[in-house]
């Protein structure tokens, strides 16, 4: 079965266990084409596991996951051609330069020919001087590394970009820059982006719709205004606390 064009990701009653520990307990959600979809929740809520399954790296224990009409895990080889994933705290190859890191990821999608244009796009997304990009990535600050990593993920113009906590551990200026490039890229290229964070402020700035996840369950999904209204809360943080069942959630 193929999904309609507008639905990029559909997750039905998804469960995932590692041994006896159940990390995802019946997740249901849909992500539509062109939206920036936020997955918000505290550490250990299951955000990374959910994104890894959508990216085809983990297999569901139960339930269904479809990405661009292809099923996980059966069609992961097809899914990977259209999806670009940035894992949480992913590093660059330190002994390669910034340019070479971008070239590598461009080649994984398009081969070694005609990738100059893609790398040029990466350079403009990263906003780092060519001189700096010629240095080995091991000499970069964390902020610079993350900008190159985000640029490498987006420059291949995937149909779905999955960014797992792309601003975690960054200073305010670098985090703001990363948010800006994601926002600008989504607007310019209409790429569907799934973005996870435990930073409620960040998500409310960036996402069209969000899913609040707590202990492996989605406790709310919708636009930020809708969630705030349903929860009777003034901000997303308050809404999360109310929906997840109190301050100790």
């Amino acid at each position: 079965m193929r999904l309609s064009n507008s639905v990029v990701v559909r997750v039905l009653n998804l469960r995932k266990s590692f041994g006896k520990r159940e990390v995802l307990r019946g997740i249901n959600l849909e992500v539509t084409e062109g939206e920036v979809f936020g997955i918000v929740g505290p550490n250990g809520a299951g955000k990374t596991t959910l994104l890894r399954i959508v990216a085809g790296l983990l297999k569901p224990s139960a339930g269904e996951v479809e990405v661009l009409g292809f099923r996980v895990p059966k069609d992961v080889d097809k899914i990977r051609r259209f999806v670009s994933y940035l894992p949480e705290e992913a590093n660059l190859y330190g002994r390669l330069t910034g340019f070479e890191n971008m070239k590598l990821f461009a080649m994984t999608y398009f081969g070694s020919k005609n990738i100059d244009e893609i790398v040029r796009l990466g350079v403009s997304i990263a906003g780092i001087s060519e001189q700096d990009l010629k240095r080995k990535a091991e000499t970069y600050s964390k902020g610079m590394s993350r900008r190159v990593a985000v640029a490498s993920t987006l420059m291949v113009k995937p149909r779905l970009a999955i960014l797992d906590e792309p601003t975690v551990g960054l200073d305010v200026v670098s985090a703001r820059y990363v948010r800006e490039i994601i926002k600008q890229f989504a607007k310019e290229f209409g790429t569907t982006i799934i973005f996870s964070s435990h930073n409620m402020f960040e998500v409310s700035k960036l996402c069209d719709r969000v899913a609040l996840i707590h202990s492996g369950r989605i406790v709310a999904v919708g636009s930020i205004e809708q969630i705030l209204a349903d929860a009777g809360a003034g901000d997303l943080e308050e809404a999360f606390v109310k929906l997840a069942g109190g301050e100790n959630a």
Partner: protein, 408 residues
């Protein structure tokens, strides 16, 4: 094929920029091999051992026209032992590790037909060189014993008015040892040294394998530790290309390691020539160097092929690192064993050891040195096929889920 070249491109770039590791792969055999030659061949020969030859008898006697004195025996022993590289003294001293006492009455007993002369040999335990010194003393005493026996036999024959050939009395069975190579041709002088050096070359495979195997383990485990693995696995790169790309890069390390081991081998043969005037450089043959190169290369491939499934299926990075270290340990012990035993001549059930490719590779080097090139090629081929089959099988074992969730 396209994916494969991309992974290889990345690996080669990283490898060339990891200059310290690359230098270790190159330098380890070049430094270790001649060092091993110096340690095993030269150092034992120059280790100082003091031998005290103490003459308490201070007497002389004769057998017919043949006169014997304890002083001349002590002098003879000291002269020859000095010639063999030992320090000698005529006094009992604390520093002497070997003490030979010629007791009072020694010469009288030595020249008598009714008594046996005896000497007392004291040795301090703890050094193979001391055992070597004792062996030389025994050799020289046997020589003296022989000369005295000949004199006695000659004198007895003269007294009995018989023509006596001393050899016929002392050594009625003559033993002539003819050394043959395993190929059946008469062994030339120095053939044993050639074999000993080829055993050292077999041991040297461990020095090539160790840094290269560490490099290979790091190229897999390090991706996880450096947090680059997950992103690469999420790209369209196929799993087969991921594994084969890394394997090809490792085989390049193997080529570098193999070339270094050849340089190291030449230095191994030259080292004793330079430091000990022992001309062993003549034993270097192109066949030995080619087989050593191929064995070094294959040894690295074997390590890769054994490490791959273990690393790919390990629950944690630490477990993977320990497993890789175990592989290196098995390789090193197997190569070391080839110094003492022909691993391809063991009986059932120990002959199963030859199935370990490291044993085959060590045997290939030794067999080449003995002129059995075909047998060496068979061992090499077995190891090569073993590693290729295992590497290809490993491409089916890569489970991104296991790699991604394995603990650091």
């Amino acid at each position: 094929m396209r994916d494969l070249s991309i992974v290889l491109w990345k690996e080669v770039k990283e490898m060339l920029r990891d200059k310290k590791t690359l230098l270790m792969v190159i330098l380890t055999p070049i430094v270790t091999l001649p060092f091993m030659g110096v340690v095993l061949v030269y150092l034992p020969a120059v280790q100082e051992v003091v031998i005290a030859v103490i003459d308490e008898d201070l007497s002389e006697a004769s057998i017919g026209n043949f006169s014997v004195s304890s002083q001349s025996i002590a002098l003879f022993l000291r002269d020859y032992l000095t010639h063999f590289g030992f320090l000698t003294t005529s006094e009992e001293t604390e520093v002497a590790q070997v003490i030979l006492k010629i007791p009072v009455g020694f010469v009288a007993n030595l020249t008598s037909y009714e008594h046996q002369a005896s000497v007392i040999l004291v040795k301090r335990l703890g050094s193979p060189r001391v055992d070597q010194a004792v062996a030389y003393v025994e050799l020289l005493l046997n020589h003296i014993s022989r000369i005295v026996s000949e004199a006695k036999v000659y004198n007895l024959g003269k007294l009995a008015n018989l023509t006596v050939k001393t050899e016929a009395v002392l050594n009625p069975i003559a033993l002539r040892t003819v050394a043959l190579t395993p190929a059946g041709r008469p062994a030339e002088a120095g053939e044993e040294l050639r074999l000993y050096l080829s055993r050292m070359l077999a041991v040297s495979l461990a020095f090539v394998t160790t840094p290269a195997a560490s490099y290979i383990a790091d190229s897999l485990v390090g991706e996880k530790e450096r947090k680059t693995l997950e992103k690469l696995l999420s790209t369209p790169i196929s799993r087969t290309s991921f594994i084969l790309g890394k394997s090809l890069a490792a085989s390049l390390v193997g080529l570098v390691g193999g070339a270094s081991s050849v340089v190291g081998a030449v230095l191994l043969y030259l080292a004793p020539t330079v430091v000990h005037s022992a001309n062993v450089a003549k034993y270097v043959s192109p066949e030995v160097l080619v087989v050593l190169f191929c064995s070094s290369y294959t040894s690295i491939l074997v390590s890769l092929s054994i490490s791959l499934p273990i690393v790919l299926r390990s629950p944690s990075i630490r477990a993977a690192s320990i497993s890789s270290a175990s592989v290196i340990g098995i390789a090193s012990v197997t190569y070391l064993a080839s110094l003492f035993v022909n691993l391809d001549e063991l009986r059932v059930p120990m002959s199963i050891l030859l199935a370990i490719p490291y044993a085959s590779l060590a045997s290939a080097v030794i067999r080449t040195s003995l002129g059995e090139l075909l047998r060496a090629v068979a061992y090499l081929t077995y190891s090569l096929v073993f590693s290729i089959v295992l590497i290809l099988a490993s491409t089916k074992l890569l489970d991104p889920e296991k790699m991604v969730i394995s603990r650091v």
